[in-house]
Symmetry: none
Subunit: 193 residues, 2 copies
DNA sequence: CCACTATGAATGAAAG
DNA sequence: CTTTCATTCATAGTGG
């Protein structure tokens, strides 16, 4: 059975707001963004310079700038950085395993059946303040594209202290009450509610 | 085999297979929640009807109902709504800058009324199967869709006024930010890299 | 034509 | 609520 070629992968929606004139690229179908070499270059440069998670503003600006080379949208830039960062980390993590035992390297599959106080391990990255370890985070100050605090965050691998447990019941959603009650008849429409 | 959702669920059956996360049988529910078509449908309906931030109690009930279609927990519902809502907004924000200034607008009004055109819920392939089936409708007895309100709901979240929340850089965007230059080409400054 | 790979896109989960 | 992280889905591109 090979359903990989079947036409079921219609993927509803995704109508590309534009009128289909987006292919400024190599005759790309409007399926998904296909970055041009220039765009990739710029993005890569930015990434190399240290930009990991651009803010909305920067995404907008970058997007605007890159539109010069071809069709591109903000979300493309957003996804690009997300993916790049993720993949890099993914690779690093794969090769990592760092020093064998970190003592508390548990990485157990949390059983989130009854979330109450499950600890969340986190990488063994341990952020050493003021210590440049292996991450080549070179921030080229020469690349001041925008006045905004460009690349500040970098990869701040801070220890994720747990502290927020999801509560199914209780007084977790204290803020929800009275926030928006624009659907009073909810119980009505949904009997079970 | 309890294929309640038997049929052509192309996507179903994914269930994190092949990872060998043999911690404890795995098969059941390790990994993250993978909503079924029905679950998504119901959640979407609720969202569409205006529910955005369900209370703890509502989450509980929804979760209970949805558990019929498959494994689900309260927190899944909670997260679902949070994400859905957040992304609705995020989309709105990132989709801008699209109707840029390099092209003339052919449709003037379309610009305002096609915000959510962009990224519809696509959950792909599920629609195909979920529609023409005869099994899925089993518990829907209680889930009767009401006559939607006259006013266009789901868009009543304009109460927010955030400073960072913004889009449309087109008009307010000025290249006079730096003393650098005034032309768009970004590569120029990045060329040194 | 089919398998594999790189990567764009999406989304569940969580942290802040 | 907002933003980020991790994992997965989907597809263009390429090799056999």
């Amino acid at each position: 059975m090979d359903e990989r070629i079947s036409g079921f992968y219609v993927k509803a929606g995704h109508v590309r707001a534009g009128n289909g004139n987006d292919n400024s690229d190599t005759g790309t179908k409007c399926g998904r963004w296909n970055p041009t070499s220039e765009q990739v270059k710029v993005l890569t440069d930015l990434f190399t310079s240290g930009l990991r998670t651009p803010s909305t503003d920067q995404i907008q600006k970058i997007s605007t700038q890159l539109s010069f080379y071809g069709k591109i949208e903000s979300k493309n830039v957003f996804y690009w950085f997300q993916n790049h960062k993720a993949r890099e980390r993914q690779k690093r993590r794969k090769v990592s395993v760092d020093y064998d035992h970190q003592k508390d390297l548990i990485r157990h599959v949390d059983k989130i059946s009854s979330p109450k106080h499950y600890v969340e391990f986190h990488n063994s990255y341990m952020h050493v303040a003021g210590e440049a370890h292996d991450e080549p985070e070179r921030v080229i100050e020469t690349l001041q594209l925008f006045p905004l605090n460009s690349f500040d965050d970098q990869e701040s691998e801070k220890l994720r202290m747990h502290g927020d447990e999801f509560k199914e019941e209780g007084t977790t959603f204290s803020y929800t009450i009275g926030t928006e009650m624009d659907h009073p008849p909810l119980d009505l429409r949904l009997n079970f509610l």
